[in-house]
Symmetry: C2
Subunit: 547 residues, 2 copies
């Protein structure tokens, strides 16, 4: 309708200049439209002719949205590229995503494809059986699109530098886009593979010739792209592994996995650093550790309990090793005669985890450490974890020039220095400090029989940084109440948040000890990463609650 | 001083009657005191003589608080009573607690001792080697005290009915109290072993002659005593087992264990039923499921993820199967061609869990079901889990007399009825309903290709009650946004709580499906328990946030 020439021009005796101009313009418009139509028609018929001549029609294109159409599954087995060597000269079908695609010529396109931690080069070459249209289509797929490829696995003469699979490439026969990535990406995956900038480098962002390193904030704001990087996939496979190894070891020792409540009716452990929430018509609080509950379970005759769960800390700490929500690996167990029995279990546990990380997650560990040029983690032999009395730690620090008193807490730099001293002396990146000063530990810590200013408590360290805090706990209700009252700040043992806990030790409770590990810290220090946020899928800190 | 006769009586010329009376009284008082002193002295010297003659001195008593005194560990190996048969005639040392202790005569006392799920009878008999004092001490220990016993394992002629170890008893040689239980206990453990009262029985509490059943509330208010009951220990060993089996099966299939944030910057999934908290200077929310995050991880190229973590629901539901905090067993995975691939994995997973519960947790399962007289759980054979289209479920219910429309949601009674019908027809307590009406599912559910009013979604049931809800999710950003807008109530795809989620599907995401199980429900319906609170260590509901 709109491209018909106008018929409603007012019939004036002498047409005005304007009217003439208007008529002229409309004429030109109509001519342009006709020309465009002719072009479109010509293109369409050319395309139809091309399509008719497209020997590859039906072998490439975009798939309809999987699941929303009633297509019959083909049942084609999907290949794992890790097995490329065993598939030489075979035709395989696999899902992967596009790292990049480029048209080399009208007859040749290359694609870098990724599947999990593997990358492979793929080629599409025009031939009698394979059309130029298909070459063009394949070479133009946007980066990060998900595709399904069918092709031949072919050995190459020269190793392919750009791919992790170096001796084979894929000769593409069919290629379908399953899920097309929009352009541009908010973050390049290859940028996410590079190290974080140091504070200094971040300052200089944009200066100089080199491609700048992308800041942690930009990465975390685009976390679902960021996580696609091999380094990040590896970090979280390792994290999953640490959990599995923790449970594997402790299950064999008879630990029961428990789930204690994260919503508490009253703030416990003194009430500092807890998040408050609205629980129907009353206030409630998020658990800052499962401490009280795991001990209540020991009083309930669970002899050995472990828990893996979120821990919430309303601390306004903006450091490279603090999160407001992290994953706690907790355990608590009764012991027979001495809390060192429990320390022994903890040390054995960690040696098991480290040993198996080296065995089962070697590839991922090396991939991550490679990016940051991190030294291997020095392990003590079984039964030889350095177990250093706090007093001795103080003495070592003093000898190195630090000034501090017998019952002072260590600062973070002092902890790191001690880590170096221990490494020099014992050749181990993992060790325990035992018999901490009582005053700097929680009120439920058992005082030391050797020195009332010390306590039966311990911390464990990796590369000079704390990963675990633990102790023998007071299992006598009266002593616990009196220690709470004496504590700085004092805790009222009769208050709503503590009464059930203090009372549970009135009805027969065995001596017990335990510890709480920060899962993200274990991963961070195992890999030697600069920031704990890299070890949380969607980290939470005082500034960040999204995505 | 105070027992010296009074010397400060005022010297009056003629003592008044009152003064005489007073003097008389004081004289009597002094005499009484002298007599008491003599008695005390006689008792003390008798005790000293007895102690001197106590052949068992040093073999019984109360241990000093373990850990607070510098005692040397003896290193004595502690025995497991489960091995009693292999320890016949041997001297063993073990920790246990006292179910009850009674003095039979001056020369004989019996104790029922418990260690984990085992109970054993112990005897203390006075002899040349064993004093009456020790018999008295042992027979008077308060119920639930923790003790360390050394004794001989002796075969008995008649099986002991009151103990789980029927063919052996312990002849006590040494006995020390490690942690004495106060008297009275707020709840008797033997009462916690009995079934919960029905609503009817609870009404009648106190009437009649029988010892009343203790209400769930009383039990939960004294949970650390309640949990000592064998039935409760068994429930939580099974719960721990379900988690371990879930991970064992899925790990082998290549699933990565993930930990998604529980604190969210904005309410997602429509914003209903979420707990709000104060996050420093802004509001935040507790995750009501890991749904958005596990899908974002699929978009991040994690092909298969699982999570075990707390799930928070601010629903004011006071039923026997709802909690405000429960443990979610979640999984999400990409699939190749059809979401039924994922349903297959879920069904196989549950058959594995059920099978291994029968194999590895038979004792615990039978112990719990025995208390409630629950039928065994009818299992389908591998590959034969009834997979019933929702439409067929509706037809079965109609045939049974229910009136409902094709796209109606099922009520709880209808679900339970359907469970009975399925059991009759397929001889299985476990089954899947597939292709639910789209309108009653979340906005991110993939519509069905067969019928736009249906969806590629499913629920799984045990004994006619829902344990899992799952679906194929929309992996196309545009379709997802449009479905959110059309949803009742509508969800704004641009809002803070959903934008990151909707956008993550713009950059290439494979088709995927998954599901979320309620761990406590699996345990509840496996065991046939009347209330889900029994399957949470410290349950949370709209009325309860303590202990």
């Amino acid at each position: 309708m709109s491209d018909a020439p106008p018929t409603d021009t007012p019939q004036a005796e002498a047409p005005s200049k304007n009217a003439l101009k208007k008529a002229q313009k409309e004429k030109e418009k109509a001519e342009k439209k006709a020309a465009a139509k002719a072009r479109e028609l010509a293109e369409r018929s050319k395309k139809e002719a091309d399509d008719a001549a497209d020997v590859s029609a039906g072998l490439y294109g975009e798939l309809p949205l999987c699941g929303s159409t009633d297509f019959k599954p083909t049942g084609t087995r999907r290949a794992d590229l890790a097995q490329a060597a065993e598939l030489e000269d075979k035709e395989i079908t696999f899902r992967c995503w596009v790292e990049n695609a480029r048209v080399q010529s009208a007859k040749l396109a290359f694609l870098n494809l990724r599947q999990n931690l593997n990358t492979v080069q793929a080629v599409v070459a025009a031939s009698e059986k394979l059309s130029k249209q298909m070459v063009k289509f394949c070479g133009s797929i946007s980066t990060e699109s998900t595709i399904v490829v069918t092709g031949l696995v072919k050995r190459v003469k020269e190793p392919i530098k750009s791919a992790s699979i170096k001796d084979y490439e894929i000769h593409i026969q069919k290629l379908f886009i399953e899920s097309k990535a929009e352009v541009p990406l908010p973050l390049q995956v290859e940028d996410a593979e590079r190290p974080l900038p140091t504070a200094e480098e971040e300052q200089k962002e944009g200066e100089g010739d080199e491609r700048p390193l992308v800041s942690l904030n930009t990465r975390l704001n685009n976390r679902t792209i960021d996580l696609r990087a091999k380094i990040n996939q590896s970090i979280f496979v390792i994290k999953s592994g640490v959990c599995a190894l923790f449970q594997e070891f402790l299950s064999k020792k008879g630990f029961v996995l428990v789930h204690t409540p994260k919503i508490l009716g009253a703030a416990s452990e003194g009430g500092a650093n807890v998040f408050e929430l609205k629980y129907f018509d009353r206030p409630a609080y998020l658990a800052q550790s499962p401490q009280f509950y795991k001990q209540m379970l020991i009083a309930s005759r669970f002899q050995k309990v472990m828990e893996i769960g979120p821990v919430f800390r309303a601390e306004n700490s903006n450091t490279a090793r603090h999160l407001t929500e992290f994953t706690g690996l907790d355990l608590e167990m009764e012991f027979q005669e001495n809390y060192h029995e429990v320390m022994g279990v903890l040390e054995e546990l960690m040696l098991f985890i480290f040993g198996e990380l080296n065995a089962r997650y070697k590839k991922e560990t090396e991939l991550v450490r490679g990016v940051y040029h991190v030294d291997a983690f020095k392990l003590p032999s079984a039964g030889n974890v350095p177990r250093i009395p706090f007093k001795e730690g103080i003495a070592m620090l003093r000898e190195a020039g630090e000034e501090l008193n017998d019952y002072d807490d260590l600062t973070t730099p002092q902890e790191k220095l001690l880590g170096k001293l221990v490494l020099q002396k014992y050749n181990s990146d993992f060790y325990t400090l035992d018999q901490f000063p009582l005053a700097i530990r929680p009120a439920y810590t058992m005082p030391s029989p050797a020195d009332p200013q010390l306590s039966n408590s311990y911390d464990m360290f990796m590369r000079g940084q704390e990963i675990c805090s633990g102790a023998q706990r007071i299992h006598d209700s009266n002593l616990l109440a009196s220690q709470m009252r004496k504590h700085d700040p004092p805790i009222d043992p009769e208050s709503a948040g503590t009464k059930d806990y203090v009372d549970c030790f009135k009805f027969g409770c065995p001596p017990h000890a335990g510890g709480g590990f920060g899962l993200e810290r274990i991963v961070q220090f195992w890999l030697g990463l600069p920031n704990i946020r890299m070890c949380s899928l969607f980290p939470r800190d005082p500034q960040r609650v999204v995505p």
